[in-house]
Symmetry: C2
Subunit: 171 residues, 2 copies
């Protein structure tokens, strides 16, 4: 339902009705609508938890912390495969909603909020464009030498890019 109708168009009540159960039962097992959404992503980590240190650590070094968290999740077998499945849906009809509701609202939105940056949508769409491209080049296409680069090499290349997107003056 999240994929078909988007986050805003989905209600816990609607999910419960489709499952033939009471909304209270869904709340009991899954928590809030945000919790339900994260559960529906079927990734074995809660992005809100692992990103807390990124969002709460201040703007200094935030690009590097965000990148290291991203690489840790993507370079772990248990999380890479579900993430690859998720990324493949980007080109499907539900791709826009998934990126906007999932990646932007759940993953990057709270980071921008925690860091207190100005024009969060603008900065985070720049950040997203580099992270999406890195994920596709390194993990989907397996473009060399990016696919086998060390985390330190990747941090040297990408952390300044992300930091600049978070901090640069916007015209």
């Amino acid at each position: 339902m999240f994929a078909a109708q988007g986050y805003a168009g989905t209600s816990v009540r609607g999910v419960a009705a489709a499952a033939g159960v009471d909304a209270a039962l869904v709340h009991h097992y899954f928590g809030t609508k945000d919790d339900l959404f994260v559960a529906a992503l079927q990734v074995p980590v809660d992005p809100r938890e692992i990103l807390l240190p990124v969002a709460q650590g201040g703007l200094d070094g935030a690009g590097e912390r965000l990148l290291r968290t991203f690489l840790t999740v993507w370079d772990h077998d248990d999380t890479r495969l579900p993430l690859l499945t998720l990324v493949r849906t980007v080109f499907g009809p539900e791709g826009q909603r998934l990126v906007r509701d999932g990646f932007m609202r759940i993953v990057l939105g709270p980071v921008a909020q925690g860091l207190g940056v100005d024009e969060p949508e603008r900065r985070m769409s720049l950040v997203a464009s580099q992270l999406i491209g890195l994920a596709i080049a390194r993990y989907v296409v397996e473009l060399e030498p990016l696919a086998t680069a060390t985390h330190e090499d990747l941090v040297a290349a990408y952390a300044p890019t992300l930091q600049r997107y978070l901090e640069m003056p916007l015209g």
Copy 2:
């Protein structure tokens, strides 16, 4: 055949045989194997031609020239639709070959060669990761405000990134 067998695994002779014609006929109508490959991409511009000014203009400002060429092609209706079709194949089984043989070998390889950068594969895989991410965020997912940003805003954000990937010291 390029998609299934890759650039190296495809010969003009093999294409001619599959089409039931003489190899000379293919050469006559399509030119070299590179020309045939570009024709098979079915994009209405020859990337080798439009990228000449990028490759031959020197390293100074190369990031901006590359980005402006990229945006011109993507923001033109005649070229965006075939490119979108091409980009969607990235997640298919032929995606790796398409990016390696097409994007890297035909598009970014000659740019790196023309600019004379060191470690061209390494630098160009960084450049590719940002351009792929920008294409997906702006044209596939239509992430706002990236999707409706002006070229000047995009140049301000991305040209320094690409320039840095071309010039930064590599460890």
